[in-house]
């Protein structure tokens, strides 16, 4: 496969594959680390049963970025796991965003439009539908 190397443009398949691979890998490591911290250094207020966990909705994801980051900085396991989940969620979104850019580089207008539409649907769920459901 030496012929592929002579092309200066990046191969879309390789870029997309890397985004997916490293996104999942990073999130799995962060989530695993969070679980490990949870077992070694359990927070004081941690519920003792799953029904208690759900009744008090313990660890309900925060939407406050500064709260999340300070939680991660202080090695709070719940926030570390949340960060891992966010990285995981962002992985497919990043994959779609990367394809918009790559089709733009190839000047493929039709597929820029198609991938951009998918990206907008994803962001619509995140910024419009999600907050509506959270408020309900």
């Amino acid at each position: 496969m030496t012929t592929r190397r002579s092309r200066p443009k990046p191969d879309m398949n390789v870029v997309i594959s890397d985004v997916l691979k490293y996104g999942v890998l990073a999130s799995a490591i962060i989530i695993g680390l969070g679980v490990l911290i949870l077992f070694l250094n359990t927070p004081q207020s941690f519920p003792s049963t799953t029904s208690e966990l759900l009744a008090m909705n313990y660890g309900k994801p925060t939407l406050d970025l500064s709260q999340l980051l300070s939680g991660v900085a202080s090695a709070n396991p719940v926030y570390v796991i949340e960060l891992g989940l966010i990285v995981l969620l962002a992985t497919p979104v990043a994959r779609v965003a990367a394809s918009v850019l790559m089709y733009a580089m190839e000047k493929d207008k039709m597929y820029v439009a198609i991938t951009l539409f998918v990206l907008i649907v994803l962001l619509f769920g995140l910024f419009v539908v999600g907050p509506i459901e959270a408020a309900a």
Partner: protein, 288 residues
């Protein structure tokens, strides 16, 4: 009463098994995670769906990475059909949350049971198909829609050592199937691969290997569309989602490794039976 840490370890183990079985039968792990969390652990279905859909993103994105690199996945067909599947997913997530909030969560159990029966049937059909290889139908006749959208490609078949060209047939019906697959994926917290493969295999008449890998490629983005809604809506509990995501990921990848080395034919028939038993349990749980 079992303590929460025992629960977390148990959930991790059950998720490993779910991912393993899912990979061996050729369905996603999510299809077994939701029944396991609701029936075995008594977790309310909306939280089971929230934890399961997260694991669906992890497994599909992880395995899609390899197939995309090998140029088996058709990116254009996947990205075009994602328009339908992501729109469906948003609708499905809203529908699922509304059903649970208005006290109709039993309907989600019934739909889940029906989906399991269909999956068991389709796994059985695929097992019989694999036995008589070379019977697949690949479309190579051009049509206007796929020409305009450039929904065609070629792939190298390892078995026959030939490059096979293909053109997507019946694009609009396949697009409709993807929309429905998106709704079901979000509604139930599963990947919906079974339905996606029907769209790509039966309607577009793509080679089977291209169908399965392209379906897998689309599942991650489809699941992301609904997961953001479940996440912000507060249905993804990190303490439940973490062991499930890690467990299914470990199980699915070990399952794929096993699958490369062996052909567990009779074992897979057993798993088809397991799917049917779980379907009956889910329907039973949903009935008043």
């Amino acid at each position: 009463m079992t303590g929460i840490f025992e629960y977390i370890v148990l959930m991790l183990l059950v998720s490993v098994i779910a991912g393993l079985i899912g990979a061996l039968v050729g369905v996603g792990g999510g299809i077994l995670v939701v029944p396991a969390l609701t029936l075995l652990f008594g977790i309310p279905i909306q939280y089971a769906i929230g934890a399961s859909i997260v694991s669906v993103i992890a497994t599909s994105s992880g395995s899609a990475a390899a197939y995309v690199r090998d140029h088996i996945t058709n990116l254009r067909i996947g990205m075009f059909l994602e328009i339908g599947s992501t729109c469906g997913a948003i609708l499905g997530a809203v529908a699922s949350i509304s059903l649970v909030r208005s006290g109709y969560s039993w309907t989600v159990f019934l739909i889940f049971g029906a989906m399991l029966i269909v999956s068991a049937y389709s796994s059985a059909v695929r097992l019989r198909k694999e036995r008589k290889m070379g019977s697949e139908i690949i479309n190579q006749r051009p049509n206007r829609v796929s020409e305009r959208l450039r929904l065609s490609g070629e792939y190298y078949d390892n078995a026959t050592k030939k490059t096979v060209g293909y053109i997507a047939d019946r694009v609009y019906p396949a697009f409709g199937v993807m929309f429905v697959a998106g709704v079901l994926s979000a509604l139930l917290g599963v990947g919906g691969g079974v339905l996606k493969v029907v769209g790509l295999d039966s309607y577009m008449k793509l080679p089977f290997k291209v169908s399965t890998t392209t379906s897998n490629f689309m599942i991650g983005v489809t699941a992301a569309a609904s997961t953001t809604i479940y996440y912000i809506g507060g249905f993804v509990n990190p303490i439940l989602a973490a062991p499930v995501a890690i467990g299914v990921l470990i199980g699915a990848f070990s399952g794929t490794k096993v699958l490369v080395r062996t052909r567990p034919g009779p074992l897979r028939w057993l798993f088809v039976a397991v799917l049917i038993i779980i379907a009956i349990e889910m329907v039973h749980e949903g009935l008043p």
